[in-house]
């Protein structure tokens, strides 16, 4: 796997003015809507604290809650499967489908199935996978990863969608009215839901141990169609999705959509506990690295994530580089701390794609200390030797100079001379500062020199007060 080059990807994203402008404005608008909702609820900060503690409790007692969840689900008539990794997940799903003669899988959005790369696996085995969330479908038809957890095609403009749909589902290329495009998608998708050889799949936002229920939050109605029309419903569940009891659920439901898109609740908050009449309900519980992460002292808190995407919306770097620049299933701040747990080498650039401004941690409804984890991931990246030789040597040298006042003084007095250098020397392609910014003018003397001249120990204004 080659390393993700976030800088290169962001540079080309920024070059396209209409796209970056829309992307930044749209996500900032969502962040503002989120603020309005959060400020409208007096107990908002208390809810965040509760959600964080409920998740920390559940994760620290996860084995017991998983057993309780399984026990209740089986009692409800659900078939429960366990997958240690992506390959097992895909194999289990494929077996369920092929045994029942299913040739079409209608599914709602699931980051977990993206993580497992399930779609290509099933397609290679003759099963058509139809993403039924509009944004996810656009990305599927364009053969791109989702660029955002909640709004998968947020980096596209309507005219881009018109191109994709014209090429794939036969809409009119010249018509980029979003209403027309969404209707085209609806008309194209409906027959798949109705196929007698179709099965439905959903992800899982919350799994309630007390009742063995899976909770799915969507706006389009596609999860409820996927689960309620075909007779077989498979839910893929990351093992970190557990919460103890139904009474804990409102804490999360009240914050999920408010944090995600600034609406009080998703249009559909759907609870699946038992198979429908004449149907089957299967849960696939997936580890895929989660238990490993649980053992990481500084980083297990990332398992609290409820995938609202608020950290992405508020992140000034994400808004100006686009989700695809992160090169992984999870983009933005949460991607910067989750992706390295899957492949540190490949994603070693992501912890540096941050200004450590901390806004992500402030909007996080489960209070993940995202920016602090980013800071710590940088240390891991360096310790594991995933930085360039030049950077490593430069830092080593800087460390020596900054620890030695004499050498430091020689250099800082020297820095003043840069002001006298010719402009072409200062502003060249090798000077990252000067590409798009002017350099500060160097003053005649440093503060240090000024102080030595103007405030000698002898004439220190003793007791002046």
């Amino acid at each position: 796997m080659s390393k993700v080059d976030h800088v290169k990807a962001s540079r080309s994203f920024i070059k396209d003015e209409p796209h970056i402008q829309f992307h930044d404005k749209r996500l900032w608008q969502i962040r503002s809507l989120r603020d309005q909702q959060a400020h409208g609820i007096p107990e908002w900060e208390q809810l965040r604290e509760l959600a964080s503690r409920i998740k920390e409790h559940t994760l620290s007692n996860l084995a017991d809650y998983l057993e309780e969840f399984e026990r209740k689900a089986i009692a409800n008539g659900v078939v429960v499967h366990w997958a240690a990794n992506a390959a097992e997940h895909n194999r289990i799903v494929h077996q369920l489908l092929s045994e029942r003669g299913v040739d079409t899988l209608v599914k709602s959005k699931s980051m977990l199935t993206e993580e497992c790369e399930m779609r290509p696996y099933l397609e290679a085995r003759g099963i058509a996978v139809i993403e039924t969330d509009l944004g996810e479908r656009i990305q599927q038809l364009d053969d791109e990863m989702p660029s955002h957890i909640v709004i998968p095609a947020v980096h596209k403009l309507a005219k881009d969608v018109a191109e994709v749909f014209a090429d794939t589902i036969g809409t009119d290329r010249s018509n980029d009215d979003p209403h027309y495009l969404a209707e085209g998608m609806r008309q194209d998708t409906r027959p798949y839901f109705l196929k007698s050889t179709a099965a439905g799949m959903t992800g899982c936002n919350f799994a309630v141990a007390e009742t063995g229920s899976v909770v799915v939050c969507t706006n389009e109605g596609n999860a409820d169609l996927s689960a309620n029309v075909p007779s077989l419903h498979i839910a893929s569940i990351g093992i970190e999705k557990l919460i103890p009891r139904l009474e804990h659920l409102p804490v999360f439901i009240r914050m999920l959509s408010r944090s995600a898109i600034g609406s009080p609740i998703t249009q559909y908050t759907s609870h699946f506990s038992a198979p429908k009449d004449g149907g089957e309900l299967h849960y696939v519980l997936v580890d895929n690295g989660r238990s490993e992460r649980l053992a990481m002292d500084d980083f297990w808190y990332s398992l609290k994530c409820i995938r609202c995407g608020a950290c992405m919306n508020t992140c000034p770097v994400y808004r100006r580089s686009g989700g695809l620049s992160y090169g992984g299933v999870y983009a933005g701040p949460i991607g910067a701390i989750i992706n390295p747990t899957f492949d540190l080498k490949k994603y070693s650039a992501l912890p540096f794609a941050s200004t450590l401004n901390g806004s992500c941690s402030n909007v996080c409804p489960v209070k993940i200390n995202i920016h602090e984890q980013i800071y710590k991931w940088r240390q891991i990246v360096v310790e594991q030797g995933q930085v360039s030789f030049i950077k490593k040597e430069a830092m080593k040298l800087a460390g020596k100079v900054l620890g030695d006042p004499k050498r430091y003084r020689q250099l800082s007095e020297g820095a003043k001379t840069i002001g006298g250098l010719p402009r072409a020397f200062l502003y060249n392609p090798f000077n990252a500062w000067g590409k798009q910014r002017e350099l500060p003018a160097a003053p005649k003397q440093t503060f240090h020199e000024w102080y030595a001249q103007n405030r000698n120990k002898d004439d220190q204004p003793e007791g002046k007060a």
Partner: protein, 199 residues
């Protein structure tokens, strides 16, 4: 060792020291009257509120007045006949040609403007999704103040499938333009109507 046992053993070994589970308050002091709050919240989420109907009214006419061009109306409530009864549906796919579904909410939530529906109300769950529009009858006495109260309801513990539905199916996935009627119903009408005494 099976997958299950291996995963559970790994989790048990790796999970951090146990953290305490906090108590969740009901957050129900100083809340506005439930009916007015529900109407306001429903409207914000794109639902339509209809009031003024009485038990003696002919609900088939009320529904027809709201949807004059509707041909197929499938009813799961005794108050309206529709053009077909949900009891006559034995495969959810048959609901695809339905223009209007009619169902009664188990209860509703003022905070979010949501109506609660399960297989008990639907009979066939797809009634809430395959028709083009949905009409939901609601007794104002069935509105709870907020989601904390909602999740105390016993129905949640017995339902095989339950949904908090809030407005029609919607998407803003293309350039943030709000579109009602993504994959599911294009409109949601909540019709205020107390339950009849034998309901």
């Amino acid at each position: 060792m099976t997958n299950r046992d291996a995963i559970l053993a790994a989790v048990r070994q790796k999970q951090p020291a146990s953290c305490a589970l906090p108590k969740v308050p009901l957050f129900d002091t100083d809340l506005p009257p439930t009916r007015a709050a529900f109407i306001a919240a429903l409207g914000k989420m794109g639902g339509v509120w209809l009031e003024g109907a009485g038990l003696a009214d002919d609900f088939d006419s009320v529904i027809r007045n709201r949807f004059p061009s509707a041909k197929n109306i499938c009813s799961a409530v005794p108050e309206a006949e529709g053009t077909c009864r949900i009891e006559s549906i034995d495969d959810p796919r048959q609901l695809d040609g339905v223009d209007i579904g009619v169902v009664r909410a188990g209860f509703a939530v003022a905070e979010t403007g949501s109506v609660w529906l399960s297989e008990v109300q639907y009979s066939v769950n797809a009634l809430g999704y395959l028709p083009q529009h949905l009409v939901v009858l609601l007794d104002p006495a069935d509105i709870v103040p907020n989601l904390h109260h909602a999740y105390q309801r016993r129905e949640f513990f017995t339902a095989r499938y339950a949904v908090l539905m809030t407005g029609p199916s919607a998407t803003a996935d293309i350039e943030g333009v709000l579109i009602r009627g993504a994959q599911g119903i294009r409109s949601l009408t909540v019709l205020e109507l107390p339950r009849s005494s034998n309901d």
